[in-house]
Symmetry: D2
Subunit: 228 residues, 4 copies
């Protein structure tokens, strides 16, 4: 029995992350998921979560969540807010939105109780291993210097991926390990999977693509082939 | 010619700020606005903005916005995101979500270009006057020690309100001045208006009310009477 | 062969943390260290480090350090600044000054190269274990709800201490484990050591004491006895 | 009667900001001050304040200060800490260390009571004017895009300087207005003064100079000439 590969699409705050275009990309991601069986996750901005979660059946994630309980917290989004709009999980600690370690722990623990999945990012393998101790559902190790460059970590720095897998597995045998930063093509995804991860966290490669469907489809197909 | 009074309702992240209850309060606010002519603003969390902006005709505000342009900013909400979901304005620098002065300036300036209104909070009259220099649409001075207490600033510390009006008017003759913190009843609103403001920023008094409609209606009616 | 117990004194920004009084407490800590052989660490504010490091031979630690390299960083203190004033180590991630996990990693790694010791705090045992993966020299687990209360974690919540030891040891066999929060007397220290730690992080109990020497001496003696 | 020009030297965390070199630059600054009568302020890092304040008679400033009162604030530096080491003032809100507007107000107000001078930075003229309302002793407007570039704001963007003077004077007739960013030579200082300021905030031009004395001396002499 093999695991199912995962492609998580971080919309960030790109112009394409809002409105019609945002929904369109989610629909295309859903199409690929249905055609290939690969798990495709979309992570739009807070303001788009409701609309997209209404329209697609693939997992919708937030890009961040705040470590507060419901109450007097103006402008913050607690986990309960995500649950209310039908969101299935959340990215946290992205290198563009880093968190205190105590808050990561608080969110991962509470998310489990609420049935919300957590994908925690780390900038280096050691940080990936540190957060693995907190037992999130997924970890993505992304060297910030490659994010948005189109230089794929899985090819340019394969040792980051293998070391992530090695260090994380020492402290946590179950967590799903993704990699990210510069992942652009299906081949980059295949390389990541061959190095021992179960998938990738991508952003600009999909969000800025002329034909996002084509990019996601290529990634999904190559991911499946790499797992054979 | 008299100005129209303003009641701005900050949903914060109270349990009532999400889902059905959130929409219900917005509908009740809209009803009061239609019945009285008072401007009633609702400010739900990011995740609820789309849903509520679709359903009501009164101004919907965000509770906060991030000082970024669209781009690679995971988990942040730029002004453009608000525009996309039909939001008319945004609160910023609430005492529970304070900002750097340079970011307040950046947001106020850019919001004007995008046609989004800004309601900037300050904790003391002097801070209200400082932000008044940046020419937002509205300023609310709220002493944090009274927020959520039910002890109305307009009655317990009237000098905060009069001093806010005095200091702000010295540097900005146009900005609409609100007050807030502990505002609970129509009488508190009337007191605020008699002290020279044009309205109030409220939260728990409406959000935690058994009958929010009744509370808002009372505030609106007393506000109108105070202006006569 | 037994280990030497450790008493780390966090001066915080108490009125006694500055000037003459600060130096006096450091001298008393040194006296206890010389009389008992216990390792007594003093952690004064940045502005007092030079003066105290000149005057005592016990280890002087900073209370925090910033994750920057030397350069254009106005108002921040890099590790190199600590080295320059003769500081031997630094506390980081105290619950009153929490850090991003990536920054904790950066500091711990760089401190090793510079020969500066690191004492990383965590609020709960799980967070202690997460930072243990990063291989600092010492870890102190301190439940924030007990900090400054005089209710000793080692007596009120012994399970926090035993669980910290258990979880940290799973991922790191070498790091020195301290505990803290509410530690007031020599007996509290003894209890902490009997639960498997090698010492304590204390603050108000020493800083606000009429006779700091007496308090530190009692802690040191009871610590030694507990290790017998 | 003319005012005395001011040259404020922000040491930042440059390698030259620590230890012997830091003291040497302070001594050279003092020499220029004595020779020319110009006010030369040095702003070393927290850890160097004591040492330098002991050795020179010119004003020593901190680069930042935290908005806390003495107490349980691990790793933070309250205004009282500065007073204790003989510091005369503090820079705050530098573009590399920005603050919430409420905290700027708190610090400026409290500093006055303690007899500590405040030099508040702003990134644009409007922000300079906003903080001018809070009545600090000095304001420095520094466009961040020019900081550290060697392209002097007073020559490349003179309109930033004139607009700063214009907007700040509207709300505050007394505050001393400095400018900064890219200021490298005496001529840049002269240009700044001719545009209506009373001095400059400099950093790399002095800190990285082969002969800091020569640079400061040139700045002081040209400043005096510009004021004639």
């Amino acid at each position: 029995m093999t695991e199912t590969p995962i492609i998580a699409i971080n919309y960030k705050a790109y112009p394409q992350a809002f409105g019609k275009k945002a929904l369109e990309i989610a629909k295309q991601a859903e199409k690929v998921a249905k055609e290939t069986g690969v798990i495709v996750i979309v992570a739009p901005p807070f303001t788009e979560l409701y609309r997209i979660a209404q329209e697609v059946e693939i997992p919708v994630y937030a890009q961040h969540v705040d470590p507060y309980d419901p109450g007097a917290h103006t402008g913050y989004i607690p986990l309960e807010a995500l649950k209310e709009v039908g969101v299935k999980g959340t990215i946290i600690n992205h290198s563009e939105h880093q968190m205190k370690i105590a808050d990561i722990h608080k969110i991962v623990t509470k998310a489990k109780k609420l049935g919300i999945e957590t994908l925690v990012c780390g900038d280096v393998p050691e940080v990936g291993a540190a957060v693995a101790v907190l037992e999130p559902d997924m970890i993505a190790v992304e060297p910030p210097e490659l994010i948005g460059t189109g230089i794929p970590v899985s090819k340019a720095k394969p040792e980051v991926v293998t070391r992530s897998v090695e260090l994380i597995r020492k402290v946590n045998p179950r967590v799903k390990i993704l990699t990210g930063a510069g992942i652009t093509t299906g081949e980059d995804v295949a390389a990541a999977i061959k190095l021992g991860t179960i998938g990738v966290l991508v952003a600009s490669a999909v969000m800025k693509a002329k034909d996002p469907y084509k990019v996601i489809k290529d990634m999904a197909e190559k991911a499946l082939k790499a797992l054979e």
